[in-house]
């Protein structure tokens, strides 16, 4: 399969990439790993006039472990997220999630920024950044802004990014001691995407949940935070009954997507089962 013809520019800075986006308001697409865009180009589901390659933009690369935050450049590949010891020492959920994502070659090329900005409703990283309470740093012609992950995902393949803005980094507050994480998903057998994926961060104190946060992907038009279930768990022990109740609550409050592989009712059940399993894992 061969994409429709397009022009190509390799941008060397964010400023240049943003200018190119502004100058081509209808027909430009950013490309980094290209592992969502290229298949779409080959199927001619997308036919931009211009591809702006941002792989060489140094300012959005790399992982920094700061005093209060961890900063992940948007160009960081899934493999780099999995391989980084400093990152996984703080947030082991990155390795846990990356391992479940696509396959080694795709992980070597695809980027977390691309995954988040594309906002596939079945992508894995959206659930993780939601559970970690991440802030997404966005750069545009008029400057920088930071958006909580919770406000970033708007709809299917739709985010709060304006056409001339670029997701630059993911900034995650460092966790309190003793916070533990889990990511679980029911993997679509063909695509590897999440039919349902659940990311959790839980901190226990004196036998009860001190803080909990839950990110869900795959179930609805866009990844979301399971607030009620997390609030229900706070102050309670992770007993079987409490876990079952939180899972039931989340499942019943979720208007699930339906497709040929997973009707809404089945997806809602997967939400219940996967949250239950993830919490059980963390209770042990």
């Amino acid at each position: 399969m061969i994409p429709a013809a397009f022009d190509y520019v390799r941008a060397s800075s964010l400023t240049q990439a943003i200018e190119l986006l502004r100058d081509n308001p209808d027909g430009a697409k950013l490309v980094a790993g290209g592992h969502t865009l290229l298949p779409a180009l080959k199927l001619r589901l997308a036919a931009p006039e211009l591809l702006i390659d941002i792989r060489s933009v140094a300012e959005i690369k790399g992982i920094e472990i700061g005093e209060t935050h961890v900063k992940i450049g948007a160009l960081t590949t899934h493999s780099e997220l999995s391989a980084s010891e400093p990152l996984n020492n703080v947030f082991p959920i990155f390795r846990e999630t990356a391992r479940l994502l696509a396959d080694p070659q795709v992980r070597n090329r695809g980027t977390i920024g691309g995954s988040l900005a594309n906002a596939d409703p079945a992508a894995d990283w959206p659930a993780v950044v939601l559970a970690l309470g991440a802030q997404l740093e966005i750069v545009g012609a008029t400057g920088r802004r930071t958006v909580p992950a919770e406000d970033f995902f708007l709809d299917i393949f739709t985010t709060t990014l304006a056409p001339d803005e670029i997701l630059a980094s993911i900034q995650i507050p460092k966790p309190k001691t003793g916070t533990r994480y889990a990511y679980r998903k029911i993997r679509h057998p063909a695509s590897g995407f999440a039919v349902v994926g659940v990311a959790i961060a839980v901190r226990m104190l004196d036998g009860v949940v001190d803080e909990a946060s839950i990110g869900i992907t795959g179930a609805t038009n866009h990844a979301f935070v399971g607030k009620e279930a997390a609030e229900f768990l706070t102050g309670k022990a992770l007993t079987r009954d409490n876990i079952d109740e939180a899972a039931r609550m989340l499942s019943e409050n979720t208007e699930c997507l339906s497709d040929r592989y997973a009707p809404a009712e089945y997806r809602a059940n997967l939400v219940r089962v996967e949250l239950g399993r993830a919490l059980l894992e963390l209770s042990q």
Partner: protein, 163 residues
């Protein structure tokens, strides 16, 4: 769509040699390798980034060359299956293990499998059977001949160097 196809000069180091070419921006790397340079050891299987037959190494990591544009590889260093031997006919270590363990049936997936095995052993020189299967998840064998492929990789485990 641009009125005229946009072309670019690319210079890529392939198997240690500097290669140049003029490509349309939309030219896929795998087509550049196979059709422009005649490096037909890299196969096109599914053409949808599923099967891994087109796996090559770009700057030391395995990627699917059907999902990379040739222009995006400009300036990179690439190793294809042809680059694993020095032309003397001597097989590389991974290739020899495939030969010894009959790790191929029709052979179509083999170049991609070999490139992925190199990637796996670089990251994990002593993989378990489970880790081997996980590490080769991006490569499909249409003959379903996975058993001997896993045996071949097991024979390489903990031997050390990748080449």
């Amino acid at each position: 769509m641009p009125a005229t196809a946009s072309t670019r000069e690319v210079t890529i180091e392939i198997n240690g040699l500097r290669r140049t070419g003029t490509v349309e921006a939309r030219r896929l790397l795998v087509h550049f390798l196979r059709e422009d340079l005649g490096l037909t050891g890299t196969h096109v299987g599914c053409d949808t980034s599923q099967c891994g037959a087109c796996t090559v190494e770009i700057d030391g990591v395995a990627v699917k060359s059907c999902t990379v544009l040739a222009v995006m590889a400009d300036g990179a260093s690439i190793t294809t299956i042809e680059g694993l031997t020095d032309g003397s006919g001597e097989l590389s270590r991974v290739q020899k293990a495939f030969h010894d363990h009959h790790a191929l049936q029709c052979g179509f997936c083999t170049p991609g499998m070999v490139m992925s095995v190199r990637n796996l052993l670089r990251e994990n020189p002593n993989p378990s059977e489970r880790e081997i299967r996980h590490g080769l998840a991006g490569n499909i064998c249409r003959c379903t001949g996975y058993h001997n492929i896993v045996r071949a990789v097991e024979s390489l485990a903990s031997e050390g160097s990748v080449a």
